[in-house]
């Protein structure tokens, strides 16, 4: 049974961007939002909710999934039904949109990953460990240094005739090498295209090491917006690289699919979503932290407050503080109901 105004919300809170996706009952993305996190994840989530609320005032959120490096924070704020790591979320979205996909290249703000699927099952993955060269933040930085908007980075690179070779092992040295090439008089498109190739070489040598890259290959994450990187991948791999329609919000989309799957598998008769409502956009969240002195571990415990009341704590290794979360969430819910009543 299809219900109008019934949506599943997927939220992916990453280092650089916070993405929200509203999935309708026909499994189509009714709305996608790509917002800059700017180091303020809670406010950014609230801003996203505000935007959704004004555009979809009648929306009924039937389920919520969160992912990304701040998935736990987002889950606490929203009352999520599913909390998933970004690797699984990306794989889920890609295999929904392209059921035969065998390789996913994903480059985000500060991390990059590769996921290998065979017969629709994730069989291998890797994530960058010690180095962030070639991720979105670095490209952002270089675009700013060259005085071009990041949106023009790729299109400019694609115009290159003779890409220059740039040392891409380390982002700091890549930058000095680029400056050197500029001072030699190479054209901007050639330098940008060279940078794209260096980034792709670095990605394939680090993240893609020992991985079998077979087509169909999907390229997603914010950096997939850059046609220069896409072309460099195609040249290096000698295969077609597909950029899916919602490449920038695939994590959020995956989280929304997972939420939908979880709630529909409960047969609709289940307890329903734990979502705490779009009106969350209007409350005040605060975060704090303290060092627990209970033992030698000295854990840094994070506290989240909603309108001055404790909502959740985490970061403790022993569970002393996080065990109180359910009780705290219960109190917050009870308080909300009293206010509404």
């Amino acid at each position: 049974m299809l219900r109008e105004n019934n949506y599943y919300l997927g939220v992916d809170v990453g280092s650089v961007s916070t993405n929200l996706v509203l999935l309708d009952e026909r499994e189509q993305a009714a709305k996608t939002l790509y917002l800059r996190t700017m180091g303020r994840p809670m406010q950014t989530i609230q801003e996203g909710l505000r935007m959704l609320r004004s555009e979809f005032p009648q929306a009924h959120i039937a389920g919520v999934g969160t992912t990304g490096s701040a998935r736990q924070l987002a889950a606490t704020l929203l009352g999520a039904d599913v909390v998933k790591n970004e690797i699984t979320a990306h794989a889920v979205a890609a295999s929904r949109l392209h059921p035969g996909v065998q390789t996913i290249l994903e480059i985000g703000g500060q991390d990059s990953k590769i996921i290998c699927l065979r017969d629709g099952v994730v069989v291998d993955f890797a994530m960058n460990t010690v180095c962030a060269a070639g991720t979105g933040s670095f490209l952002d930085q270089q675009a700013a240094r060259l005085g071009i908007p990041i949106e023009e980075f790729g299109p400019t690179a694609v115009r290159a005739e003779h890409p220059v070779r740039i040392a891409g092992r380390c982002s700091v040295f890549a930058e000095s090498d680029m400056i050197h090439k500029q001072q030699l008089g190479h054209s901007l498109p050639d330098i940008l295209a060279g940078l794209c190739q260096a980034m792709v070489r670095n990605y394939l040598n680090n993240v893609g090491k020992n991985k079998e890259i077979i087509s169909p290959i999907l390229f997603q994450g914010g950096v997939a917006a850059n046609p220069g990187i896409r072309r460099a991948f195609e040249q290096e791999l000698g295969q077609e690289v597909i950029v899916p329609e919602h490449f920038a919000v695939m994590g959020a989309l995956g989280a929304a699919y997972l939420a939908q799957e979880k709630l529909t598998s409960q047969g609709g008769s289940g307890a329903g979503s734990r979502f705490r409502g779009l009106q969350l956009a209007e409350t005040t969240f605060q975060a704090g932290s303290f060092e627990c002195s209970g033992c030698a571990n000295r854990c840094e415990v994070v506290e989240i407050f909603q309108d001055g009341q404790i909502l959740a704590r985490w970061g403790d290794r022993c569970g002393k503080w996080s065990a109180e979360n359910q009780a705290a969430a219960h109190c917050a819910r009870a308080a909300e109901q009293t206010i509404r009543a």
Partner: protein
């Protein structure tokens, strides 16, 4: 003389028992933590391996409690550990710490030299018979310790409340510390198993289904010291996976200190035979054991294998180069985690969650299209 030693997981329980049985005053360093690592990192060369940095921190924290003598085992072969004792002595001397360092190894192959060092530590009041008795009891304690850890590995994924298993673990460790006779020692795992069974009533973490089984292989210190591995065993347990390790303390003691005269709870001897098709020679550290254990776990039908590689560990780098062949030959997923003092918990958590998802989806079988996306994990 106040003796101290570096931490390695629960090994302190055994070492403390040994010295106390010989009436040697012993200072157990405070548990390894962030502070320990900060102290060690200041003194150690940046490129030194992680265990050396934590060791140094342990000594300095022990010095504050009055320790003046360090006991550490030695070794030979292409692993830096064999040179830890001497380098640590020099680093500490340069930093102004006046420690006596006793390295328990046969210097130049001389057993007489080893005996003299043991005699130095034990003093003249202990007869050789008493020393042998104390060593045998301490060894037995290490075997029981391994049984306790193994029981906890099995219990963790079966508890609905992650803190429940940790509580029983802490109780068992306390029993182990207190036991002073073989009889009370052997009661420890029996009591723990009983406690686990008693709390199974409210322990439905795995929801009745069999948990995933993940084999942990890699460098010994990182495997045994939860602070170095960022509690990887505990985290996997909380994600619903039962872990087993390539190396337990008593197996290492038997092989490394007793030169194979004792085999310990999990003998290491089998690994070189299992590793043979991939690696025919020791490469230092436990590289050979890592390869052999990976084959062993794969043959025993484990769902996945996790290698712990402290950054820059040569033997484990050699092994990491071989593991992809084992992954292909046995079609078992293997993930390598590189760890050092800069490793963040968040990144590790993401990888562990994704690895567990991957294993669960494989285990739930080839599902029909569409249901492939059934929500993995909890």
């Amino acid at each position: 003389m106040k003796v101290t030693f570096p931490h390695m997981g629960n090994a302190w329980i055994v070492i403390q028992a040994l010295f106390e049985a010989l009436d040697v005053e012993v200072v157990v360093p405070p548990p390894s933590g962030k502070g320990t690592l900060n102290l060690g990192t200041k003194l150690a060369p940046e490129s030194a391996c992680l265990p050396l940095k934590i060791n140094l921190g342990n000594y300095i924290e022990a010095a504050a409690k009055g320790a003046d003598t360090i006991v550490i085992t030695g070794g030979s072969g292409p692993c830096r550990f064999g040179f830890y004792g001497e380098s640590e002595r020099q680093i500490l001397a340069d930093a102004g710490y006046d420690f006596e360092v006793v390295i328990l190894e046969p210097p130049g192959g001389s057993l007489w030299g080893l005996a003299r060092r043991i005699r130095y530590l034990a003093g003249s009041r202990n007869s050789w018979a008493r020393i042998v008795r104390a060593v045998r009891f301490a060894y037995e304690k290490s075997v029981v310790l391994d049984q306790v850890e193994d029981l906890i590995h099995q219990a963790r994924p079966r508890f609905s409340d992650a803190a429940g298993a940790e509580k029983l673990y802490a109780i068992a460790r306390q029993h182990l510390i207190e036991s002073a006779s073989y009889e009370s020692l052997h009661r420890v795992p029996v009591r723990l198993a009983q406690n686990i069974r008693d709390s199974q009533g409210d322990a439905n973490g795995s929801g009745g289904k069999e948990p995933l089984r993940i084999g942990i292989v890699g460098e010994i210190y990182t495997i045994l010291e939860p602070f170095a591995s960022l509690d990887v065993e505990q985290q996997l347990g909380a994600l619903g996976a039962e872990v087993d390790r390539s190396i337990y303390l008593s197996g290492w003691v038997g092989q490394h200190i007793f030169r194979g005269l004792a085999q310990g709870y999990r003998p290491l001897r089998v690994y070189s035979r299992l590793a043979k098709p991939y690696l025919e020679h020791m490469v230092g550290g436990h590289g050979l054991e890592t390869v052999g254990a990976a084959v062993s776990f794969a043959r025993r039908g484990f769902d996945g294998i996790l290698q712990l590689l402290p950054l820059g560990c040569m033997p484990e780098i050699v092994a990491a180069g071989i593991l992809p062949r084992i992954q292909a030959d046995f079609s078992i997923p293997i993930m390598t985690l590189t760890l050092d003092e800069h490793t963040g918990r968040a990144g590790l958590q993401t990888r562990l969650e994704a690895f567990v998802d991957l294993l669960e989806r494989r285990k739930s079988g080839r599902l029909k299209r569409g249901s492939v996306l059934s929500v993995a994990g909890k």
